[in-house]
């Protein structure tokens, strides 16, 4: 059962081939057997999962044909889930039981999805390797000596290892697409504002966006359909019509204009990864697409811009973790300053502290113009690059990451090298554009991701383009040895 996609499992459930309870049991057993090798989960909730599965079975029996009804999924531990620990990968929230559900959680549960638990992640979504988690690093199921990517590393590893059919992730600078690429799954970061951020613990508010992590583009479409839509509780959520993401999946790609940014194929890109991406693009040529080179001249500004904007926002967003109302509070504080210093000192890990420091500095009097304000300007330049590009092409393609998964511990001592892992994904967050990563031919047994970037609210187009590739290829069906 675990080899199937949401679409296939849904058909099986509705045909009565198996029940959601059986399906849920099956995945819970896999979690019990395999999770120890991966550390991809923070919390497993078997009881509530089985209850939800029973309810879903009732619904299915009474004719409910919602595509997610009874489908077992995982939620990144950044989404607030009522009555369940919501740690955000941090010691700061190790004791935090959320009193409410995130909008994404609420919508998925309403659609009938069965939550098996909460997936591990980089602390407060700050990391590209899932090594900053308070709960320890997640391992890549394709090679457990390697990282799964981050920050949605738990979600990616668990879906790749078939511990759940799908998972939610969040993407601030590549946190869905990069781990999806490194773990060989499909991950979609929607347009900023497409999915509500309410209940999603904020890292960098102007960049954060939730999306699905699945085996296929078709599954991503099914998940996304349930997640999107305007939310009155999130002022930045988009009040845009929601298309039928399934209806356009099989649309022809004849005449599709694909742009390949020369900056995404230059220095730093592993030649083998480049070859793999090129061969995927060849498939598109055969499907009738027109491929042309384009330029995104300000690509080089993306990483430095991001590392001002994101830390600045996070330094403020994380101020609420002060030991006063919830979360980590130090023992016997002797005064207010002691309470703040020790609670935050003990609750946050080193990467989070580093970013709070950078962000605080960037916003400080006397530095604001040179850093924060300048970053806002370069952010505009980056958006303009894409705007110009989309006048010539329908989608932009390139590698999701410059290399395949790197070894655990390999880049932990060198934050800048680590940050460069997101060099191809960060710009889309700064521009607020949607992007999807899908598996193409692996290199040395390790997955490689093709990234497709679309114009604002062009999720349907991205899913269509990704799905047409997956109709021609089997890479998304591959399973890591030991987890099949």
């Amino acid at each position: 059962m675990h080899k199937k996609t949401i679409a296939e499992l849904g058909a099986g459930l509705r045909a009565g081939e198996f029940s959601s309870v059986e399906l849920t049991h099956h995945f819970l057993q896999r979690i019990e057997r395999l999770e120890g090798n991966l550390n991809s989960l923070v919390t497993v909730t078997p009881e509530s999962a089985l209850m939800a599965a029973e309810a879903a079975d009732q619904q299915i029996k009474s004719g409910n044909a919602d595509p997610l009804m009874g489908i077992p999924i995982l939620q990144k531990d950044i989404f607030c889930t009522r009555g369940v620990k919501t740690s955000c990968g941090s010691r700061m929230l190790d004791n935090f039981i959320s009193p409410y559900d995130a909008t994404v959680t609420e919508r998925l549960m309403q659609a009938g999805a069965v939550s098996l638990g909460k997936a591990n992640m980089d602390e407060f979504a700050m990391g590209s390797s899932n090594e900053t988690s308070y709960y320890g690093p997640v391992k890549n199921p394709w090679d457990t000596a390697r990282v799964p990517g981050g920050s949605s590393g738990g979600s990616a590893a668990a879906v790749a290892a078939r511990l759940a059919v799908a998972a939610t992730g969040t993407d601030t600078g590549g946190s869905i697409r990069q781990p999806a690429a490194l773990c060989g799954i499909t991950g979609l970061k929607p347009t900023y504002g497409r999915v509500s951020r309410f209940g999603m613990i904020a890292f960098a508010s102007s960049l954060d966006q939730a999306g699905p992590m699945t085996h296929s583009a078709e599954d991503a479409a099914l998940m996304l359909q349930a997640m999107v839509g305007f939310d009155p509780k999130d002022s930045t959520s988009a009040d845009e019509p929601v298309p039928d993401y399934i209806a356009s999946l099989d649309d022809s790609l004849q005449g599709l204009r694909i742009g390949l940014p020369k900056e995404y194929f230059g220095e730093g890109l592993d030649p083998a990864v480049s070859d793999s991406v090129e061969s995927a693009i060849e498939v598109y040529r055969q499907l009738g697409a027109e491929v042309m080179e384009i330029s995104l001249p300000n690509t080089g500004l993306a990483v430095p811009t991001y590392y001002v904007v994101a830390p600045a926002e996070c330094s403020s967003n994380l101020s609420r973790f002060d030991g006063v109302r919830f979360g980590c509070r130090c023992e016997n504080p002797h005064d207010l300053e002691d309470l703040y210093k020790r609670s935050r000192g003990e609750g946050f890990g080193p990467e989070v502290k580093r970013r709070i420091m950078i962000g605080t500095y960037a916003l400080s009097a006397g530095y604001y113009d040179a850093y924060y304000l300048k970053a806002q300007k370069t952010r505009h330049l980056i958006s303009d690059d894409f705007r110009n590009a989309f006048e010539k092409v329908d989608v932009i393609m390139g590698p999701t990451t410059p290399t395949t998964a790197f070894g655990l511990g390999e880049k932990m001592d060198d934050p800048v090298t680590m940050y460069l892992n997101d060099i191809y994904t960060i710009a889309t967050n700064l521009a607020g554009l949607p992007g999807i990563s899908l598996p193409v031919a692996p290199v040395n047994g390790l997955p490689v991701g093709l990234q497709i970037i679309g114009n604002y609210f062009a999720e349907a187009k991205l899913l269509n383009v990704a799905h047409r590739f997956q109709r021609e290829s089997e890479w998304h069906r591959q399973m890591p040895i030991g987890f099949d």
């Binding site: 002022s235 403020s316 101020s319 207010l336 703040y340």
Partner: protein, 477 residues
């Protein structure tokens, strides 16, 4: 040395919305601690603010009332600092592009002189909670009911040159926000708070002196006292060779003094930046028009209209329009058919005095405008005298019904029948031959005595005009 005082004020007016500025929780005053704070107010992980549009509309009304520049877009910013009663570790406020830009307000000084005070800006922000330092055995309690309450911070230019001007400005702003219905103006409950910036400079010098900011002022009386104390302190300091330090000082009403709270060096770097959780507020012309349509008549306009429409003196018009309820009461009474000048008198003197004595607000007056109007009509048509009217007023106040039924029930109708009055006068003259003799001998002051006797005999019901006329005729006759 002659010193010139320079004062600027920052007023925090709590907006009279139903719910908080970024959440749906109530802002009612006086609830049990932490019962009016939802997860958004508590700054829980993952929550987001949603702007209360009513707060924006109220701010727009204020902007229109002070003829301010109102930009097409306004931005919320985060003011970052740590304090336990500030749940998110930042206050959502405005920094660049406040909702209300440069405006002006004309104040009236005692000598009838008017002065224009510049308003630098007015911006929307959320209030913090309260730290309770007593009753927690050395610990601090936090009440977050107030957290997220909408405030309009109104910043003036340093245009005031005396404490009197500062007080007049503060009162005028208070009158305005209450008139506009955007603030209940209750200073005791903290709905209207004033921070004052004061500096001194030698008379004639252009450059401003170093200012101090005074906080914790919760009445107009304390505002004047705090400024007085601070002015003397600064003059003393400078005249004794000292220097004023830029700092925030707390006013202690019990000791009537100001104390240093924090100096400029200790001041926070608030690291303002635009709040990415909130979209810029777009103020299109339609929205501004809607706010304009919704504007009540402002105090100055009302005063001018009262002068011209009701033929009142500038002084009476000013006093009557001091508060909107009083002005409304006045107009409702006139509407009931009474003479405006008479109404003005009665509202300010009789009714005002009675309310004052009873400790009541005009809204809770036991005498309704229609009842007062009914009473005043009976004075005008000579049914009762002004003196009897006071008696009737008291009866109405005590719930004995409106004027006509009280007059009827108590038999207070004025005797205008000259025959009846004549008979009584004849009797009075007959009973006081000595006084009659003295009067006729030139002691005309005694007329009052005779009028008194007649009134006594008629229990005040005789028409005073009639009595005078007949008496004079008979005495001189």
């Amino acid at each position: 040395m002659q010193w010139e005082t320079v004062i600027g004020l920052e007023v925090h007016a709590q907006l009279a919305t139903k719910s908080k500025i970024f959440s749906g929780a109530s802002i009612a005053y006086g609830a049990e601690p932490n019962t009016q704070a939802c997860i958004v107010d508590l700054g829980f992980p993952g929550v987001l603010p949603v702007l209360n549009e009513e707060a924006v509309n109220m701010a727009l009304k204020f902007g229109l009332a002070v003829n301010a520049e109102i930009g097409e877009r306004s931005i919320f910013a985060r003011k970052n600092y740590f304090y336990p009663d500030l749940p998110k570790g930042y206050q959502i406020s405005q920094f660049e592009l406040p909702i209300v830009g440069k405006g002006a307000l004309t104040i009236d000084l005692d000598d009838g002189v008017q002065k224009v005070i510049g308003i630098t800006r007015a911006h929307l922000e959320e209030d913090a909670g309260k730290s309770l330092h007593e009753d927690f055995h050395g610990m601090t309690g936090i009440d977050l009911n107030r957290a997220g309450t909408p405030l309009l911070e109104i910043v003036s230019e340093p245009d005031m040159r005396s404490i009197k001007e500062a007080a007049a400005y503060a009162r005028k702003i208070h009158q305005l926000v209450v008139y506009l219905g955007i603030c209940d103006g209750n200073m005791q409950e903290g709905s209207f708070r004033v921070d004052a910036n004061l500096s001194i400079r030698p008379m004639g010098q252009e450059a401003l002196g170093t200012r101090t900011e005074l906080k914790n002022i919760n009445s107009f009386r304390f505002l004047e006292r705090a400024l007085n104390y601070e002015l003397e302190r600064q003059i003393d300091l400078v005249e004794n060779g000292g220097q004023v330090v830029q700092e925030t000082r707390l006013y202690d009403a019990d000791r009537d003094e100001t104390r240093s709270m924090r100096s400029k060096e200790e001041a926070n770097d608030y690291r303002y930046f635009p709040d990415p959780d909130l979209l810029p507020v777009e103020i299109d012309p339609e929205r501004l028009d809607a706010a304009r349509q919704d504007m009540p008549e402002l105090p100055d306009q009302k005063r001018a209209r009262f002068e011209s429409d009701y033929n009142l003196s500038a002084d009476d018009a000013g006093k009557l329009t001091q508060s909107r309820p009083q002005a409304d009461y006045f107009e409702a009474t006139v509407e009931a058919g009474a003479d405006p000048k008479m109404v003005a008198n009665w509202v300010m003197v009789e009714l005002g005095g009675a309310l004052n004595k009873a400790g009541l607000e005009l809204n809770n007056s036991p005498v309704l405008p229609t009842q007062l109007g009914g009473l005043l009509k009976r004075i005008a048509d000579n049914t009762i005298s002004g003196k009897i009217a006071k008696q009737v007023f008291e009866a109405i106040w005590n719930g004995e019904g409106d004027a006509d039924s009280v007059i009827e029930a108590r038999g207070l109708k004025q005797i205008t029948d000259s025959g009846a009055i004549e008979a009584i006068i004849d009797e009075v003259i007959a009973n006081n031959p000595k006084q009659v003799e003295q009067f006729r001998a030139g002691k005309e002051k005694l007329l009052g005595f005779f009028v008194g006797q007649v009134m006594k005999a008629t229990q005040g019901k005789a028409s005073p005009g009639e009595v005078n006329k007949i008496l004079l005729g008979k005495l001189k006759g």
